[in-house]
């Protein structure tokens, strides 16, 4: 088995790589370390190289001097320990696979062995799969693409801006409130529950009413028939809170006579 015979008469890659004709033909899966860059540009990996050798040079994938290859690889790995070791590993793995296949081929075969049991079948399957993907990649590369060969209509139009007010969600509001509290360190003082919020809402409502009506009779603030007890209580708490904060004045001319509320400001 001699690789020289396999490659006799072939000139490797009639195309030039980096403007230079490639001096040496890859006779096996060994890459001379000094030619690493060139080979890496030419081949995408051991599968690619193997495929090239098979398709272009009718190389039998087993017709490779395994012992010599292994020696070459070990020297290669030594040299490449510092850089690009992972690349060496891929080629090394491939040669290991070939050696394994070869050793299995050399074992005496039982007569009844089926074609599918050929140890080379898996490698051939991978090679053909890779070959199909390689061609698919070339085809995708050649297809017209937007930004290169396809030009999409994009005429101009007058941009009309419709001014809309900012949107505010409940979450935004709560977030803002939390920020306020964080900064003011008011956590201890202002733990608000729903009930207190209701009180504050009623305080605003009463004030708003006092703005238009000036004088409101106390009992008119309460709708005994329609408001449930909780609402009546909240409303009453609101009146007390308003009085406490000095926001309303509560007056009564005589005992048991009507009680009136008026905004403090409206004297």
């Amino acid at each position: 088995m001699n690789t020289e015979t396999v490659f006799a008469g072939h000139s490797f890659l009639s195309a030039r790589i980096k403007g230079e004709p490639l001096a040496h033909l890859p006779q096996d899966l060994y890459i001379p370390p000094d030619a690493l860059e060139v080979y890496l540009e030419a081949f995408e990996g051991p599968l690619d190289l193997l495929l090239y050798l098979i398709r272009k040079h009718n190389l039998d994938i087993l017709d490779i001097p395994m012992a010599e290859l292994t020696t070459q690889y070990m020297a290669y790995v030594e040299k490449m320990k510092v850089v690009k070791l992972e690349l060496a590993a891929e080629y090394l793995l491939m040669s290991a696979m070939l050696i394994e296949i070869k050793s299995r081929m050399l074992l005496p075969k039982p007569a009844e062995v089926a074609e599918e049991d050929d140890p080379r079948a898996e490698l051939v399957r991978r090679l053909m799969e890779y070959e199909a993907i390689k061609l698919a990649a070339q085809r995708l590369d050649a297809m017209p693409k937007v930004g290169e060969d396809i030009h999409v209509a994009s005429a101009y139009y007058q941009h009309i801006v419709e001014i809309k007010p900012p949107e505010v969600s409940l979450d935004d509001l709560v977030e803002a409130w939390k920020n306020v509290l964080k900064r003011a360190k008011l956590n201890q003082h202002h733990k608000l529950g729903r009930s207190e919020l209701s009180v504050r809402e009623h305080m605003s409502q009463i004030l708003r009413r006092l703005k238009s009506e000036e004088l409101v009779e106390f009992s008119q603030l309460f709708d005994i028939v329609n408001d449930g007890l909780p609402k009546l209580v909240v409303n009453f708490l609101a009146v007390l809170e308003l009085a406490k904060e000095g926001l309303v004045r509560i007056t009564q001319q005589a005992a048991f006579s009507p009680i009136y509320l008026q905004a403090s400001a409206l004297e």
Binding site: A155, V168, L192, G246, A265
Partner: protein, 187 residues
């Protein structure tokens, strides 16, 4: 490379280029289309023809060729702009932090004066902040506090509740513990 065979094809190349350019094309740009094999005068003539073909008076055309400072471009006739604008609704601006915090304080602590807000936030309140919220009809003045200067008392409006999809302030999340169950109070 192939070159256009006649003036009709040249005009078509010009039209296709202008429709797809995405920006105005200058005369120099357009000359590049023909690899220098066109006179400026011819180009101008073709542009005039295209302008006429696609002009405002041709009611079946939806775009027209117009000349702007940096060259020529096709643009949608004005009557279509408002519809096209619907495809890209302008991103709405956000309220500043000052506006949001002021709103939150008024919502949670109402009725409050500007002084209250300033005390809580620790910074002066820009009158513009209050104005923005009033213009939105989210807050209004519900009275004055009886202290020197009689400052206005602000509260949130019904409109604010509507916009935030709340029935009452009691539906605002109590800020300190959202998980804590509370006795619901109808208001």
């Amino acid at each position: 490379m192939r070159e256009p065979e006649n003036i009709t094809e040249m005009k078509q190349i010009l039209e296709a280029a202008l429709l797809t350019a995405g920006q105005p094309l200058s005369l120099d740009d357009m000359l590049k289309l023909f690899a220098g094999r066109m006179e400026r005068a011819t180009l101008r003539m073709l542009l005039d023809e295209l302008k006429a073909d696609w002009g405002q008076e041709n009611s079946d055309k939806t775009v027209e060729l117009v000349q702007v400072a940096s060259g020529y471009r096709f643009q949608a006739k004005p009557q279509f702009s408002e519809f096209i604008a619907r495809l890209n609704p302008e991103k709405q601006p956000k309220y500043s932090r000052a506006v949001m915090e002021t709103l939150a304080i008024i919502a949670y602590r109402q009725p409050v004066t500007r002084g209250d807000i300033e005390q809580i936030r620790g910074v002066a309140v820009n009158p513009n902040v209050i104005r923005q919220l009033q213009e939105r009809d989210w807050i209004d003045v519900v009275g004055q506090r009886e202290v020197p200067g009689r400052p206005s008392l602000y509260a949130t409006t019904k409109h604010f509740l509507d916009d935030l999809n709340l029935r009452s302030l009691a539906e605002l999340p109590p800020y300190e513990d959202f998980a804590q169950s509370e006795i619901p109070l109808d208001s």
